[in-house]
Subunit: 197 residues, 2 copies
């Protein structure tokens, strides 16, 4: 219905998560009617990022440098390594502001049904680091989902085999949460993981 | 927190309507982790559209041609001209499938408080067309908002001054709507615009 270039823009916008045909139409028209400068800037940012952003050689997170800012930061504790699933998880932990060690970003989790095995989430890189660096403790912070737990279990076995101390972040009732609204699985876990006072 | 190219991409994504910081982060990471091809295609589509898409010389809608597909379609009725606010309105009317005339797209509405006067919405182009073409009826389909009504009123005066027949699309209870859920303004309008049977 619209002209070819506009139709192509609408269809290209559909690659964004959560954007359906109606949102794509609204976005395309809004950009062309009112914010061509922003659209130009977005096009440049996309090209630059697609071209420039790769993986950190040490922690596998997304970065345009060979080694990312966190890995090259000499003020951080080299003896602690925290394993997370995505760069967004790193951001969440950094926002909490207490962890001072380094990270290892799997960029996913084990999921044999989708063809994602140890090689796809960089377990070889992690194993090499565990062998060669003097890592004192490996903290597993994968998501508490079936796949995340399986991944944590797999990595724990690997680390134990190399004599590295492994821990898992605590799961239970979140601070400020009301028991009334917490799901059964979380509550059961909170009871089975109770600590002596 | 992320590397500069990723931060720049997140900030550029904020120009899209309805995209806040959290959505922008999700979009940027998803594109870089899983859909670089789509991101590249989006960058190209944006550049092409920003560069190529202009306005139709006759109806002012967004198009990359000098005269858009609807205006150059000889099968459509030249004697009917429908005035709408945006290209999305044209799409909505076309989807209804009954109107066979041509369009004039204001790309906005009169809004003196935002500095949008008759010149900004192409009233001069419309006035010239009313003078020079043999338009039998001008149908005003601007939105039933305060600004839309004011714009319709302004254009109606202009057309009457040039001896062109003017009409306004009907407003009232939508088909399939239940009276119980219709707002008071619409119901009042539906009563005052009642037709004899």
């Amino acid at each position: 219905m619209f002209s070819p270039l506009i139709d192509e823009l609408m269809s290209a916008l559909r690659c964004l998560p959560g954007v359906g045909p109606k949102s794509a139409q609204r976005m395309a028209l809004q950009l062309l009617e009112r914010d061509r400068e922003g659209a130009g800037r977005l096009a440049t940012a996309l090209s630059n990022a697609v071209e420039g952003v790769g993986r950190c050689r040490l922690c596998r997170t997304l970065t345009e440098q060979d080694i990312c800012g966190t890995c090259s930061n000499s003020k951080r504790d080299d003896s602690l390594l925290c394993v997370v699933e995505t760069p967004a998880d790193v951001l969440a932990i950094e926002s909490a502001g207490t962890y001072q060690g380094k990270y290892f970003v799997l960029m996913g989790h084990l999921s044999p049904i989708d063809g994602i095995g140890p090689a796809e989430i960089g377990i070889d890189v992690l194993a090499q680091r565990l062998r060669e660096e003097g890592i004192g403790e490996l903290i597993l912070a994968t998501n508490p989902t079936v796949e995340g737990e399986a991944t944590a279990h797999y990595i724990a076995e690997l680390a134990r085999g190399q004599g590295v101390k492994v821990s898992r972040i605590a799961h239970g009732v979140p601070l400020g949460g009301e028991l009334e609204y917490i799901d059964g699985g979380t509550l059961a876990h909170a009871f089975s993981s109770r600590r002596a006072l």
